[in-house]
């Protein structure tokens, strides 16, 4: 039964491992308190789930798995603490039936009824994947969900106690189906690190100390150097609004990864394409404008520039002066892009659109040419390629003609 639960968890997106499952068994064996269903739920969650964002998925699998399949239940009854059965009983029987059963003579009878009830349930709900009951007509009504996952028919507090913890789904908004994950981004970004010694000399420089001590006829002469720090300077330019709305989460994730990795990170926003102005704060885009020219003056060519945008627009927006959809631009976007690329030799464009679509979109082809072919998909593999491209100079010659 537990093996089935293990696979149900993995199928449900909680990637738990065998060692974690074994740890749970160990706890269940050693822990005298692991008697009730609720305790079992807590212990299983502690051992198997390592991220609060997965709590909700765990709750759902748990509820689904222990809710009903008859086979699971039958195996459950072998050597399972009584309280657990009672908890299940409370979930599956109405208050009245419980009273009846107790009057009829305790748990033996109750188990019989439960068994029937479970068989019954299988037949009645066979087609559906979710239990949707209406109160009064079915004993499972209280455990039903409406499509939004809101509980209905929950007036019996004692019953609620037996199921509440995992059915409440308190952690629903922590689940965000991370695909790439900040950590992966961070691991990729850290390859951009360039260590340099800056600031006050605080660290012992062993080699120099030995050397100086030897020259000093064996008398100790300490030499200090500054600590090594990550001196990579990164400029992040993000496309916001419009067609980028679909990719907001991905860009945000990259942004937060970059932010925690680089101390010297500056970021600016643009809309669709680079023109003569950018802005620092997306909410005050009309108030705090930074001229692109100022960007070029302020940040030296040692900065690594990462542009993030889908580059999907009408080609006019790139090639024509006045082509911007937002304002009148004196010079075409392509001119500004060339200036940027000429000033910053280390520059890449990350595109969240799938690479298969690039060739068929004129504006993406154009943009790709403008950045000297250094456009990469915004995936982990793409980011790795982009970082590799950032580490070497290049592409300048193709652009400046």
């Amino acid at each position: 039964m537990m093996v089935g639960f293990f696979f149900a968890l993995r199928a449900g997106g909680v990637m738990t491992s065998l060692t974690e499952m074994l740890a749970l068994f160990e706890v269940l064996r050693k822990d005298p308190e692991a008697q009730s269903a609720e305790q079992f739920y807590f212990l299983a969650r502690t051992c198997l789930v390592k991220d609060e964002r997965l709590y909700d998925r765990f709750d759902r699998v748990f509820a689904e798995y222990f809710r009903g399949a008859e086979r699971a239940f039958e195996r459950l009854m072998v050597g399972v603490p009584e309280e657990w059965l009672r908890a299940l009983g409370e979930r599956l029987l109405s208050a009245e039936e419980m009273r009846q059963v107790q009057a009829l003579g305790g748990w033996d009878k109750l188990l019989e009824t439960l068994r029937q009830r479970l068989a019954d349930q299988r037949e009645r709900h066979q087609g559906g994947s979710k239990w949707i009951g209406t109160e009064g007509t079915s004993p499972f009504g209280a455990q039903g969900y409406n499509p939004e996952g809101v509980r209905i028919g929950q007036e019996r507090s004692r019953h609620r106690r037996a199921v509440k913890v995992w059915d409440r789904r308190d952690f629903r908004n922590l689940d965000d189906r991370l695909e790439l994950g900040t950590r992966n981004f961070q691991l990729a970004l850290r390859r951009l690190r360039r260590f340099a010694r800056e600031g006050a000399a605080e660290e012992l420089d062993l080699e120099h100390t030995i050397d100086a001590t030897a020259r000093n006829a064996g008398l100790l002469d300490l030499k200090l150097v500054a600590e090594r720090r990550n001196a990579a300077r990164v400029l992040l330019l993000l496309d916001v609004g419009g067609s980028m709305d679909d990719h907001v989460r991905l860009s945000e994730e990259l942004f937060s990864a970059a932010r925690s990795e680089f101390r010297q990170l500056r970021h600016f926003y643009f809309h669709n394409f680079i023109y003569e102005r950018l802005w620092r704060d997306n909410q005050r885009r009309h108030l705090e404008i930074v001229p692109t020219q100022e960007l070029i003056r302020t940040y030296g060519p040692e900065y690594r520039v990462i542009l993030i945008g889908d580059a999907s627009m009408s080609p006019y927006e790139i090639l024509q002066s006045g082509g911007s959809i937002e304002h009148w631009n004196e010079e075409a976007g392509s001119v500004w892009m060339q200036r940027l690329a000429a000033h910053f030799p280390h520059l890449v464009w990350l595109n969240p659109e799938p690479a298969s679509r690039w060739e068929s979109t004129a504006s993406i082809r154009l943009t790709r040419e403008l950045v000297g072919g250094r456009m990469f998909p915004l995936t982990l593999a793409g980011l790795n390629l982009a970082i590799a491209a950032l580490r070497r100079r290049g592409g300048v010659a193709d652009i400046s003609h």
Partner: protein, 283 residues
């Protein structure tokens, strides 16, 4: 030996789920990773576990510059070099210059200790990976003296994280995990009762209502937490503010008294003020 079980202390309220997580970690001897909003008592948990089970506590506070090695031991080459200059006899024994870290100290304790590794996410992204073997086998090797240090009693390890960095999978697999959620009103009352036993009922109710309403304000940069609520209530008591001053009444809606204990940046204060102003006009 029947292990003692942790069930909170007189000054620390634990939920049932946290209790079972701690006890599972103690029973099986695995590290327990604790996450949760700031101010939910993550660090304090280790102190209270140590107190409740009557165990010594070793506190390894991780900083952004911490290295995993520092928790094991450090070899003080500079003082050995200096001693050699001064002709100190100690210099012949390398053991004299090996400074044990917190993990070593915990491994060496006479009874099973509690080891707190606080804010593990502050350190470099590879930091947790460097501790895998140590946490798994509870042993490490000292290269300078060629000896193996093994834990005399498997310590109860409690690790806290604020989620600033994601932790590696291999590390997570070796830990038990618990997320301390923000206490609901009922638990909060118990927590306050523990800290302020003589608090008047009506003041408590008014303060809690105000506090939870404030937390629900959309767009707050930093939502006030348990520790801030406790500070606030302490202040309310010290200033002798009556419960009636806390109730939200339309004619004098505004920031709650002594709001500085709850709202920690001026944008939030401004936001709450504005919302209250709007509310007043609607009424």
């Amino acid at each position: 030996m029947p292990a003692k079980r942790f069930s909170g202390t007189e000054r620390y309220v634990v939920t049932e789920e946290l209790m079972s997580a701690v006890n599972a970690a103690v029973t099986v001897g695995r590290p327990l990773l604790i996450k949760g909003e700031p101010g939910t008592g993550k660090t304090q948990l280790a102190e209270e576990v140590a107190r409740a089970l009557d165990r010594p506590l070793f506190d390894w506070h991780v900083k952004s510059t911490s290295k995993a090695q520092q928790g094991l031991y450090e070899y003080d080459a500079v003082s050995r070099l200096r001693d050699s200059q001064l002709g100190d006899a100690r210099v012949h024994e390398i053991r004299n210059y090996i400074v044990p870290g917190k993990l070593w100290e915990a491994f060496n304790a006479d009874v099973q200790p509690v080891l707190l590794i606080d804010e593990i996410d502050k350190a470099d992204i590879e930091f947790p990976n460097d501790l895998l073997r140590e946490l798994d086998r509870m042993e490490f090797y000292v290269y300078e003296t060629r000896e193996l240090v093994r834990a005399r009693h498997r310590p109860i390890i409690i690790i806290t994280s604020n989620n600033e960095k994601e932790l590696p999978d291999a590390f997570l697999r070796r830990c038990f995990f618990h997320y301390i959620r923000f206490p609901d009103a009922e638990t909060m009352e118990r927590i306050i009762a523990v800290h302020q036993p003589s608090l008047k009922k009506d003041l408590l109710a008014a303060a809690l209502a105000r506090f939870f309403a404030l937390r629900e304000t959309p767009g707050l940069k930093k939502r006030p937490s348990t520790s801030e609520l406790l500070d606030w209530i302490k202040l309310l008591v010290a200033e002798d503010i009556p419960a009636s001053a806390l109730r939200e009444e339309p004619e004098r809606a505004g920031l709650p008294p002594l709001y500085g204990a709850l709202l920690k940046n001026e944008q939030d204060v401004h936001l709450v003020e504005q919302l209250m102003f709007i509310n007043r006009r609607v009424r």
